[in-house]
Subunit: 190 residues, 2 copies
């Protein structure tokens, strides 16, 4: 997605050799107009499949999924919870996700009421690196006997193994920007 | 907002005497079409003020703020972070928020880059009870020398002191549904 590449080159900053900061338009301050462009692009990429629901993960996936859902006939969005909440149902689907950046496992949870057998579920998220969050969401979708029909990612770090992990699951992955390297502070797209 | 009252009566459940579960349309599964109605209503309520930016707090405020922003000329949305993030700037505005439900203090943080002196900031969130989160956001806006021009809330628990706290700050509060009591599992609107 050319407009996204231009946005990244203009507004993102690289920290070290691996961190791409996009907090001025994607995951702290949110550029709503641009997110609509992203939503349309996801619709174009997954135009050939029926999408019954969009699944994402708190917090930074929520804005992306919510705006994008408007281009998928306003399907419901469900976001997996990372944090304990007294208001969450007792009956949940649960997966363990290993965070490389924080070097620890955490649980993600979705109430059983919000994923149903046979539904076509599209996963949307901001970043893909080693795909641990996406694999956790795929696991949860499978527990619900629903169909993980695809993963849509805004920014893929293509130099990590996330794409391979998802494709090995036989699941389609669409990334709007693919980055081959962030070395020496230089963003190199595929 | 009559449609919201009807939605609450149809889809929300009461747990105990104080918890209103709205996780099937507002804060776990999200009804995007209905959120657009909520966004329009916020626009109508704050139609007489200039809004430069919408401020909310992760996670359940994000969808509301993002969809609503589309009715405020796509102003940027900023969400305060509750969790530590290695990608957050070092330079942040910070406030302490006491959580009655969890009986502990937590910090909320906003990068100094995303709130600017003189900007008119509208706070949007899902619930208002004792207003601790909103007061924390107001504190952060004032640190930035920006103007907290209003607080928009989807569901106010009017039997708690949140409204009073915000009005004592001299700040306008618009709640789309006001609840006087949840006692004995019965939702009583104002």
């Amino acid at each position: 997605m050319e407009a996204l590449k231009q946005k990244i080159l203009r507004d993102a900053t690289v920290v070290g050799d691996d961190v791409l900061k996009v907090d001025n338009f994607l995951n702290h301050q949110i550029d709503i107009k641009f997110l609509n462009e992203i939503g349309k692009e996801f619709r174009d990429r997954f135009d050939d499949v029926r999408v019954d629901k969009i699944l994402t993960i708190e917090a930074s996936g929520i804005a992306i999924a919510s705006i994008a859902a408007q281009y998928f006939d306003n399907v419901p969005v469900v976001f997996a919870k990372k944090t304990e909440s007294k208001n969450l149902d007792k009956e949940v689907y649960e997966a363990s996700v290993y965070s490389f950046t924080k070097d620890k496992e955490y649980k993600i949870k979705v109430s059983k009421r919000y994923l149903n057998e046979g539904e076509n579920i599209l996963i949307l998220d901001d970043f893909l690196a080693r795909a641990r969050a996406s694999l956790g969401l795929i696991d949860i979708i499978k527990q619900a006997k629903a169909n993980p029909i695809g993963v849509g990612i805004v920014i893929e770090k293509s130099y990590q193994d996330g794409r391979q992990e998802i494709e090995e699951e036989g699941i389609r992955l669409e990334s709007l920007a693919m980055i081959d390297s962030l070395k020496e502070g230089k963003i190199q797209f595929r």
